[in-house]
Amino acid sequence: MTLVSPTTSIAAALAAVRPGATLMVGGFGLVGAPLALIEGLLVHPGARDLTVISNNLGEPGRGLGRLLLDGRVRKAVGSYFTSNPDVVAAYEAGRLEVELLPQGTLAEAIRAGGAGIGGFYTRTGWGTALAQGREERVIGGEPHLFHEALHADVALIRARTADELGNLVYSKTARNFNPDMATAADVVIAEVDEVVPVGALDPEEIVTPHLFVDAVVCTGVAR
């Protein structure tokens, strides 16, 4: 059942994050990233030894970049870490394990995890350095690579608006990985700008139906 209230505290919602947990964190860089929840992780003692599945690991000292600098991240799974030099430094110092996936494969593996699909084949990456160790299969005459689905213990996402059931709509390109991640974790926590009454969202427009969402934190900060 969704815990939706404009007053659900970040600390209460983040209690689901345990040491060693695998987190999915929405956002494309900082756009659509749940920045208040990420800040909450910095003061949550359970947030350590984390595996973070996210397209990037924030920017230097911002978003997930802060979590990295605070030594909370053991492993990062994503598609583009080079924009944050701190990630490169942590990796080269042996403080961070990195699993790199093409962005489309990352998104698809998250969607698969949420949709009960065990794994899938994509042409992307075949014949490249990222194909190493991956099973190949020819389908329709074209070589594909196998990828298993990704799943997380907790997903931290950001949306524009929730209704009181936990239905979510997003804002422009801040949508990105958030709806996919909302499907692929045992516990899904959404940070939103506003909470509206049930029935205020058009049923045709809801992107994330409430059955995916476990808790909603309203930051009340319109951007």
Binding site: F28, G29, V31, G32, N55, S79, Y80, F81, T82, S83, V87, V88, Y91, E92, V98, L100, L101, P102, Q103, G104, T105, L106, A107, E108, I110, R111, T122, R123, T124, G125, W126, G127, T128, A129, L130, Y170, S171, K172, T173, A174, R175, N176, F177, N178, P179, D180, V207, R223
Partner: protein, 211 residues
């Protein structure tokens, strides 16, 4: 602005623009490819960006920036009328599924078969790939927009790539400030020489065989 006053990057972008069919759905990579938008007659292409928008509009003015509205290079954009937003999985479904007609990508190297390397440097940790591999396998036509040589003057078009390839799929067209090559089953074919360059320069600065 005359051609002479344009930066080399803008000149390359201008040379790519005529290869974009009217009404096409186009994904522009980071760097020189992004500049192609400035050279397309307004509204003649539908720009898709893999972070979840079809219908990218012009760069906003300083007071019009929306932090929730960026392109894949994470810079602010606008959305045109008729635009739509979608999740990352849907966006890459479009790309891998062949629904993007043209991708314009940058390159570090192009080999004699038209395969490109544009995501990693040899001997460096491999920590970023983004959407390059998906675009390269998925877009129906791939155009490379690149300077003819690297910053140190060495050819980018080489017999064999020394940088890691982005895909086995060859691109369709390679456009530089000096030349345009079509990629054919037989290899690179020189189809155009820029007004301010000549065949001798191209021969000297191209390390792959071409016709």
């Amino acid at each position: 602005m005359t051609v002479q006053q344009m930066t080399v990057q803008q000149r390359i972008a201008a040379r790519v623009a005529p290869h974009i069919p009217r009404g096409a759905v186009v994904n522009l990579g980071i760097g020189i490819p992004t500049l192609v938008a400035d050279h397309l007659p307004a509204g003649t292409a539908h720009l898709q960006t893999e972070n979840g928008l079809l219908g990218v509009g012009p760069t906003p003015g300083p007071g019009e920036i929306d932090p929730d509205l960026v392109h894949a290079g994470k810079l602010p954009v606008t959305a045109r009328p008729g635009a739509s937003y979608f999740a990352s999985s849907a966006s890459f479904g479009m790309i891998r599924g062949g629904h993007v007609e043209v991708a314009v990508l940058g390159a570090l190297q192009i080999d004699a078969r038209g395969r490109i390397a544009n995501w990693a440097l040899p001997g460096k940790p491999v920590l970023g790939v983004g959407g390059a591999m998906d675009l390269l396998v998925g877009a129906r036509t791939v155009i490379v927009a690149t300077t003819h040589t690297a910053k140190d003057g060495t050819p980018k078009i080489v017999a064999d790539a020394t940088f890691p390839l982005t895909a086995q799929r060859p691109v369709d067209l390679v456009v530089t400030e000096a030349a345009t090559f079509a990629v054919t089953p037989g290899g690179l074919e020189l189809v155009d020489i820029a007004d301010d360059h000549d065949l001798a320069w191209i021969r000297t600065h191209t390390a792959a065989p071409f016709r």
